[in-house]
């Protein structure tokens, strides 16, 4: 039997998914007296509540209780950020359409929804701040002053460059559209404790917020999450309100309480990807080499801070994407607006930053009449030499030992990325002075995109197809084809460095079966299976002997969100540590039995071997138990070598980079702006993949989701701040036929030089950015209609494409 890692095993829940037996929050059988909750929400984007009449709500059939802010017994706070700017229920101010004002508890989901609609709420409306321009005018900021990071002297470099190009790109936000809406269930226990089942990426944050809301220590709250029906970042902080509401009602009534949002409510209440406007000025030489670049990033954060600081930081951190920028200045404006609070979404600001620089490169190539792929290669960081040795395994020491900070009494959620702005950095890092560095002073030592790009261009037949498309376009007046190439270099680690830790709990039973638990959550990405493959490999046993269990704050405490693509990196390592502890104990027992050195004991093929002796793993487990040695262990892991100062924009925020590249071909109808993706070729760097099938699934799915963000997924708010696209009838994620007609996806199977779990790489977010190639391909097709640069904004709906075509034709 070979090791379980590297095998393309199916998702562990596959058979449950296809038979409808996989259980989500809404499928959990309920105690008979369960209450169902619904929020009454604001219809006004900004104002002061002047009167609330809830009599009709209370009188509605099935209503058991109605709560306003004043009825809440303890903290009225569901904020991720330490600034406590998100009350569960409004205390008088309303700051966006969809903000919860009151809470209905009724005997059924429908009764609660129907009742909530009967309220009479009077609000003195004020003019909402909605656009970037309005927010700048009003100096409405989440963080002030705007953050500025610099490398070298961008202004001087641009001024002295042979050519200067300026432009602006606007890109919309994105609704997560997890198929399973937000949901939570709270079960009251004796002694005032509560068990919460939540569809969440961050059980510890749920635990923390619930504990504060019911006025109990965290030990009184147990949060369990078996699986989510999709997360994509939308369940990192946005589940807080439901879980807290359920726990408070359970606490007040002694009855179980459940809440799930109707889809329209979900889309109006919860946050989405941050939209961005990026203004750029770049100085280049005649080969397209960037000499200096200046970015001004503007994002609408919505009404509260949530995770905005960390998201906007990551947009700045990816302003270079794959390119060595000798001089760069990046300015970031985080604007407070009267809309739902923008939040985590796959890529976490990274995609927005990458779109900025990819636009710049595309603009340069067009204006200089150069092949955009060549302009990219001219600007790439240098590859890591093929013969370079991998980093040492094991845990490297942290560079600057930091003295513990006193964070007591701050009442902040230190396990949230929302706390990004709350920690001063001690032992301030310095920018690297040798080698190639990012705009934030981190050395780039593991770059592979030169050779990866060469291979992709060859396998996708780039040169010949580019020529063929030019010829085709010359003969087709109405339809135009376009090609778009985009690479990605994505930084892996939480940028709030202390979050880069994970725990695990592993039990081996006397029969050799293994019970596995860790702090990561399963949202479809296959994390549980990958980590189980690690556990099976450490013990040399089959997958059937490893039981995957729900994430549970009572088993593994103080977890970080399953986010930042970190799930398998962190939890795989923690599980490995736990397994190795137990394995060493078993080895000790077996070594003593057979009188061999411990190092001579091996675990493989379901057997434990000691010299010439061997026994089944189950037998070894039984012997270990009889020897009165523990078969249970925790494991812990923290990512080494990180040191980062977000305010200065200097240091090493990432353990390593993951890479990939995509080439997309489209056809555009120049009469209506409609288009189809004809073919996409992808080569993606997953390191030495833990599970190539699951990783390819992340790449295919990430690409389509990324392409959706930049093409059909349009969020439309009206002049009163009302979201007009709050259901799948009006908000259009890619459907089946929107996937590329030809879709070739392969993994770049080079082991990670950094000492990650089995030398694999994180794969959750990086491939999302490959969807940018679709936007570039559309721009290329539009550019074929004339000679000027299309300046195509995103999402590139047929309307925006036709507008761009008209601009190019009429220039």
């Amino acid at each position: 039997m070979t090791e379980q890692v590297r095998k393309p095993l199916p998702h562990d829940s596959g058979p449950l998914h296809v038979t409808g037996r996989a259980r989500y929050i809404d499928d959990i059988p309920l105690p008979a007296n369960t209450l169902h909750l619904a929020f009454g929400i604001s219809a006004v984007a900004r104002g002061q509540i002047t009167a609330i009449d809830l009599n009709a709500v209370r009188a509605a059939p099935g209503v058991v209780a109605v709560y306003e802010a004043a009825d809440l017994p303890f903290a009225n706070d569901v904020a991720s950020a330490p600034v406590h700017d998100e009350p569960l229920l409004s205390t008088g101010r309303v700051n966006y359409v969809g903000q919860p004002i009151f809470l209905v508890a009724a005997t059924s989901h429908h009764a609660a929804r129907h009742a909530a609609a009967r309220a009479k709420v009077e609000i003195a409306e004020e003019t909402p701040i909605l656009t970037v321009e309005e927010a700048l005018e009003a100096e409405s900021y989440i963080e002030y002053p705007p953050l500025v990071w610099s490398k070298g002297d961008a202004e001087a470099a641009i001024k002295s460059a042979p050519r200067i190009i300026e432009g602006r790109i606007e890109m919309g936000g994105q609704e997560h559209f997890y198929l399973e809406g937000q949901a939570a269930l709270a079960l009251p226990q004796e002694n005032g404790d509560v068990i919460v089942n939540s569809s969440t990426q961050h059980p510890t944050e749920i635990q923390h917020k619930v504990a504060e809301a019911i006025g109990r220590p965290m030990h009184a709250v147990r949060v369990e999450s078996r699986r989510m029906g999709g997360g994509f970042g939308g369940k990192e902080s946005q589940g807080n309100a439901l879980a807290v509401a359920c726990a408070v009602v359970a606490s007040l009534t002694g009855r179980p309480a459940k809440m799930r949002y109707d889809r329209d409510d979900d889309m109006q209440i919860t946050g989405k990807r941050h939209d961005f406007r990026i203004d750029y000025t770049v100085g280049v030489d005649d080969t397209g080499r960037i000499l200096g670049v200046d970015f001004r990033q503007y994002t609408r954060a919505g009404w509260s801070q949530d995770l905005t600081l960390a998201v906007a930081d990551r947009a700045m951190l990816h302003a270079d994407n794959a390119y060595l920028l000798p001089h760069a200045r990046i300015e970031s404006h985080r604007l407070r607006t009267n809309m739902c609070s923008a939040t985590a979404y796959r890529g976490f600001g990274g995609p927005q930053g990458v779109v900025g620089i990819e636009r710049v490169i595309d603009h340069i190539a067009h204006d200089l009449r150069l092949d955009p792929v060549e302009v990219r290669r001219v600007n790439y960081y240098a590859d890591r030499p093929l013969d370079a040795a991998p980093s040492e395994g094991g845990v490297a020491p942290r560079p600057a030992a930091t003295t513990p900070r006193d964070i007591s009494g701050q009442e902040m959620d230190v396990a949230s990325r929302g706390a990004a702005g709350a920690f001063p950095v001690e032992g301030t890092p310095e920018a690297a002075t040798d080698g190639q560095t990012t705009p934030y002073g981190m050395k780039v030592e593991d770059f592979v995109l030169h050779r990866l790009t060469a291979k992709l261009l060859e396998s996708s037949d780039y040169a010949a197809r580019k020529a063929a498309i030019e010829a085709w376009n010359a003969n087709n007046p109405v339809l135009k084809k376009g090609l778009g190439f985009s690479p990605v270099k994505f930084g892996i680690s939480f940028t709030l460095s202390h979050l880069n830790q994970a725990g695990a709990l592993v039990h081996v039973y006397q029969d050799g079966s293994v019970h596995l638990n860790h702090g990561g959550t399963e949202m479809g990405q296959g994390l549980f299976q990958k980590v189980a493959q690690v556990a099976a490999s450490r013990f040399g046993i089959g997958m059937e002997d490893v039981r995957i269990t729900a994430t549970d704050t009572a088993k593994v405490p103080n977890t970080s969100a399953t986010a930042a693509s970190s799930g398998s990196d962190l939890n795989g390592m923690a599980v490995k540590a736990a397994c190795d502890t137990i394995r060493d104990r078993i080895a000790g027992v077996v070594a003593e039995l057979h009188q061999v050195a411990v190092e001579e004991v091996s675990f493989a093929d379901g057997m434990v071997r000691a010299g010439s002796n061997e026994m089944p793993f189950a037998k070894a487990a039984q012997l270990t138990y009889e020897a009165q040695v523990s078969l249970s262990a925790t494991g812990f892991y923290k990512t080494p070598e990180l040191n980062w100062d977000r305010l200065k924009g200097v240091g090493r925020p990432f353990f390593y980079f993951a890479h990939g590249a995509a080439l997309t071909e489209v056809v555009v109808d120049t009469l209506t702006g409609e288009y189809r993706i004809l073919r996409t070729d992808i080569l993606h760097d997953a390191g030495a993949s833990l599970n190539p099938a699951l990783d390819i699934g992340q790449v295919e799915g990430g690409y389509v989701q990324g392409a959706g963000w930049l093409t059909t997924e349009e969020l439309v708010w009206d002049g009163k701040g009302r979201l007009r696209t709050h259901a799948p009838s009006t908000y259009k994620i890619p459907a089946c036929s929107d996937r590329p007609r030809v879709f070739n996806v392969a993994l770049w199977d080079e082991p990670n030089p950094a000492a990650t779990i089995y030398r694999s790489k994180a794969v959750g977010e990086p491939p999302f950015m490959l969807g940018i190639s679709a936007l570039l391909a559309l721009s290329d097709a539009v550019a074929a209609c004339g000679t000027t640069y299309p300046c195509l904004d995103a999402p590139a709906t047929p309307e925006r494409v036709l507008d761009a075509i008209d601009r190019v034709k009429n220039a």
Binding site: P10, L16, A727, V742
Partner: protein, 495 residues
């Protein structure tokens, strides 16, 4: 709290103009009163092979709620509760065969006498997995798994009917994780395998008693009843009316279900006309109309989704009066006649005259759509549906053209649009301007100013007024260029 004005697909319902707003107690009494009358009223259907007889069922309870809440069958998921995501897809089989339907906007009485198969009923009773389920596991077709039951039911239905155009059969199932590629690989593998024999390919069950709402068997019964109950809501396919319950949370008041009216179904073709019964679904019409007007059939492939086309009716799409339904502009371009009936009185009007103004139609109380007829004609129809997403989206603009050209001169023109006005509307000034002109691009340029005289479209979340007008004008160019043999269809292009 929030007003939610909605303009969506508007297909498949017929309902009265007025809205009921009973006080809760009044409604309660009324229901109890009805219940007294309906004590013996039984709803009978099969669920995963077992007969179900329900008495006292609420007529506007959705199948999804009944499955999940009443039966504890939680495999069928609620993703959007408006028929747009397909997570709740179930298979419903009757004499005409198995169909995929959205359980979230399917009222229980619509199941009378039919067989329902949910995801729990796909696997053979003898054990193991359905070939579709096995293929989905083997090809990594599920990630988060929440959409998966809906996909497997859609795929199993297609496998049973032999439909292998997976883009067509899966357009109504949204997946946010996989990017669809592995699902298609699974569908392709499963299509080559035999369907398990425990799933019925047709189903017929005699119904012992009337169901929990008025469910006429004939148009005569409906006509007589509706005259006496002019304020009742007529339910055809419920693909829009379902949302009045699930999203607008309205009480529909007294309802009648038309799905058992056999004489409102069927497509009849004579030398003079094509007659389409009001209760013909768009899925049923598609193959019937394809030989005569392939352009309409092509557009219907993009009309909502399979699940919606399987429920939504031609009559409902018209009677509903939506300005953005895709059916009326196509039918108007074909010079269709609408046949209305009130009691024993029938009248026929040109379809376009039915639409008076936004939200207002030429329909008297107690009057309903019986049929629509299309005169037989040489096929010149092309339908251009324009939306943000190619499949399963509501049109921003739907332009339908039927222009006759003799000796390179335009001799007749019928052009109708959805999405350009408060009603489906003809481009009469453009039509007039075209007549007698050479069929060339120069003519289209010369008459370009007519478009503004025909239409003043609005801006909304689907498109701006400016884009609508430009696209509408360009659609005529596309029609001309296609007529001249130019390549204008992105669907025909390969990499």
């Amino acid at each position: 709290m929030l007003a939610k004005p909605r303009h969506r697909r508007f297909s498949g319902l017929q309902h009265g103009e007025r809205r009921h707003s009973y006080a809760a107690s009044e409604r309660h009494e009324r229901r109890n009163g009805n219940a007294a009358v309906m004590t013996n009223m039984t709803l009978s259907f099969h669920l995963n092979g077992d007969r179900v007889d329900l008495t006292g069922a609420e007529p506007t309870m959705t199948l999804l709620d009944w499955l999940r809440i009443e039966r504890g069958l939680t495999g069928t998921k609620e993703g959007c509760n408006e028929g747009d995501c397909g997570a709740c897809t179930v298979m419903v089989t009757d004499e005409s065969g198995p169909r995929a339907l959205n359980a979230c906007i399917l009222f229980l009485p619509q199941l009378q006498g039919k067989a329902v198969t949910t995801v729990e009923g796909l696997a053979p009773p003898s054990g193991g997995l359905h070939p579709v389920q096995q293929a989905m596991v083997d090809h990594h077709g599920s990630q988060c798994g929440f959409c998966t039951p809906g996909f497997t039911v859609s795929m199993a239905t297609a496998q049973l009917t032999g439909e292998t155009d997976h883009d067509l059969t899966l357009a109504g199932n949204l997946c946010r994780c996989t990017g669809y590629a592995p699902i298609i690989r699974a569908a392709e593998e499963a299509a080559a395998k035999p369907a398990p024999d425990h799933l019925p390919t047709t189903f017929k069950m005699p119904v012992d008693a009337p169901g929990p709402a008025f469910q006429p068997e004939t148009a005569d019964q409906l006509a007589a009843w509706y005259v006496d109950h002019p304020e009742a809501t007529l339910v055809a396919g419920a693909t829009d009316l379902g949302l009045h319950v699930t999203k607008l949370m309205r009480d529909l008041g007294e309802v009648a279900f038309l799905n058992r009216c056999a004489d409102l179904k069927g497509v009849t073709v004579t030398d003079e006309e094509i007659r389409i019964g009001a209760m013909v679904t768009w899925a049923e019409l598609l193959p019937e109309i394809a030989p005569y007007h392939p352009g309409l059939a092509a557009m219907l492939r993009r009309f909502a989704s399979v699940q919606v086309r399987n429920a939504a009716t031609v009559g409902g799409n018209i009677a509903n009066g939506s300005p953005i339904g895709d059916g009326p502009p196509a039918l108007i371009a074909l010079d269709a006649t609408l046949h209305l009936r009130q009691g024993d009185t029938r009248r026929a009007i040109p379809l376009e005259e039915f639409f008076l103004d936004y939200g207002r139609q030429d329909r008297a109380p107690g009057e309903f759509v019986e049929a629509v007829t299309i005169p037989r004609q040489p096929d010149r129809l092309a339908c251009y549906k324009l939306s943000k997403r190619f499949d399963q989206d509501i049109s921003a603009v739907c332009g339908c053209f039927s222009i006759t050209v003799e000796d390179e001169i335009v001799t007749a023109a019928r052009i109708a649009f959805g999405g350009m006005a408060g009603i489906p509307k003809r481009a009469r000034n453009v039509e007039t301007a075209l007549l007698g002109k050479p069929w060339t691009q120069d003519t289209l340029v010369a008459i370009a100013g007519e478009w503004e005289t025909d239409f003043t479209p609005m801006s909304d979340m689907r498109a701006s007024a400016r884009y609508r007008l430009t696209a509408a004008r360009n659609m005529l160019t596309r029609y001309l260029l296609a007529d001249l043999g130019q390549s204008v269809d992105v669907l025909e292009i390969e990499a």
